[in-house]
């Protein structure tokens, strides 16, 4: 199989308008990824599936990742020559910027026909609140059907073009998306005398103290 860089170049040549970025993976697994833009994702996915040199016919794994808003400190070092003629000074300039929150979907593609893989695709939403729509790849790989439903259920990413986008693991009336990092579970625990103080406190708060056994005077 060609390298991911070659693949990226080939896709860029075929889809000039598409924005395909190589996302490197620093871990020893070296499973690098291609980040696609939402508008061309399905066309590129179809190409990956049907291209005779790739034949990525199996989309094994689909999952979401939540990247909440994060403060990043960028350190820029500039060397300032000392006007007095001494050694140049190194000025460290720290800029704080807010990395915007986003949701990401990861697809792991393999080829059964040619026994190679994985090719990892990533799609990123605009933010975590209102721009959470991504194209569904279920029309390309049927295996994404339940997995995209799961990502929708747990992360709240809306897949456009999915044939049956409903909650799958949580019940229909459930409101939140529990796999988001900022999800807080409701404190309606069944009361149990665990030694863990905060659970206990929560439970006490939720279940008021039992009414006194003596009848209260009016």
């Amino acid at each position: 199989m060609e390298t991911l860089t070659q693949l990226r170049d080939r896709i860029a040549a075929l889809f000039p308008a598409a924005d395909v970025v190589l996302a490197t993976n620093p871990s020893p697994s070296a499973q690098h990824a291609l980040r696609l833009d939402a508008t061309h994702a399905r066309a590129i996915a179809t190409f990956l599936r049907d291209d005779p040199a790739l034949q990525l016919d199996q989309c094994t794994n689909v999952t979401g990742i939540d990247w909440p808003e994060k403060e990043v400190v960028d350190v820029t070092r500039t060397t300032v020559p000392d006007p007095a003629g001494g050694a140049p000074r190194v000025v460290e300039e720290k800029t704080r910027r807010i990395e915007p929150g986003r949701l990401e979907v990861v697809y792991h593609l393999y080829s059964i026909a040619l026994s190679h893989g994985p090719v990892v695709l990533r799609l990123v939403t605009g933010n975590r609140t209102d721009a959470v729509t991504l194209p569904s790849l279920t029309p390309v790989w049927r295996s994404a059907e339940f997995q995209e439903r799961e990502v929708y259920d747990l992360f709240g990413i809306v897949f456009e073009g999915h044939p049956d986008l409903r909650r799958i693991l949580m019940w229909d009336g459930f409101k939140d998306h529990p796999m988001r990092r900022d999800y807080r579970e409701p404190d309606d625990y069944e009361w149990e005398p665990t030694p863990h103080g905060d659970v206990l406190a929560k439970a006490k708060q939720h279940y008021p103290a039992p009414a006194p056994s003596a009848p209260s005077t009016p």
């Binding site: 149990e192 005398p193 665990t194 030694p195 863990h196 206990l200 439970a203 006490k204 103290a209 039992p210």
Partner: protein, 212 residues
């Protein structure tokens, strides 16, 4: 075909019917409360705390309340409070001990990770499995007193592991003594009085305050 497959199946069931009367490989049932299965040595159920001396369990606890197991416990079923004072451990060194050590066995999933991460061989897996109670709240929350069992008991349930642990601990102790002796020799000029180990204070077992 034509019923031969069915006949073959009937022969197999007949063979098993007869076999169940004479072949122990076929009839494997144990009549449980009367006949108990022999537990393999590796069998694990719920954790217990090891103490070195059965007569003074609280005074000879190996646990030093380092809280590693509490942190590593996947379902977070261990609850430890450190003591304010110190007591000598098996090597005679003054150590903190757990003032409160509770395991919620209704949460514990018997994974043995607490045993693996414990650097002091203080917590081990028990083999008692008949632990049903009628009170699923308080009775399943085991406190320090209920959890502590002597090293001799550990030897009866996991003999191999216990022997290894004892050997290791003895080696450690000897190494510590060697070191202390070496240190004492180095400081030969000043005859150091050996630190008298404080007498183990018998502590009243602090049971957890159970919520209403």
């Amino acid at each position: 075909m034509l019923g031969t497959g069915i006949l073959q199946g009937l022969i197999v069931t007949a063979k098993n019917f007869v076999g169940s009367f004479h072949d122990p490989a076929r009839y494997t049932t144990l009549e449980y409360p009367e006949v108990k299965p022999a537990l393999p040595e590796a069998y694990r159920n719920f954790p217990f705390l090891v103490c070195d001396n059965a007569t003074d369990p609280m005074g000879t606890l190996r646990c030093v309340a380092c809280q590693i197991c509490e942190k590593e416990c996947p379902p977070q079923c261990i609850y430890i409070e450190k003591s304010r004072d110190k007591k000598p451990d098996a090597t005679g060194k003054l150590q903190i001990y757990p003032a409160v050590f509770a395991i919620d066995t209704s949460v514990c999933m018997s994974c043995q990770i607490c045993v693996e991460v414990c650097p002091f061989d203080a917590i081990k897996m028990d083999q008692v499995f008949e632990i049903a109670t009628t009170d699923r709240y308080a009775a399943l929350l085991l406190d320090r007193g209920q959890l502590t069992k002597p090293n001799a008991y550990f030897h009866t349930i996991h003999p191999t592991e216990a022997a290894e642990v004892d050997a290791r601990l003895t080696a450690d102790r000897q190494a510590a003594e060697e070191k202390a002796r070496a240190a004492a020799l180095a400081k030969a000029k000043t005859p150091a009085a050996s630190p008298a180990p404080a007498a183990p204070v018998a502590k009243r077992d602090q049971t957890l305050e159970s919520a209403p």
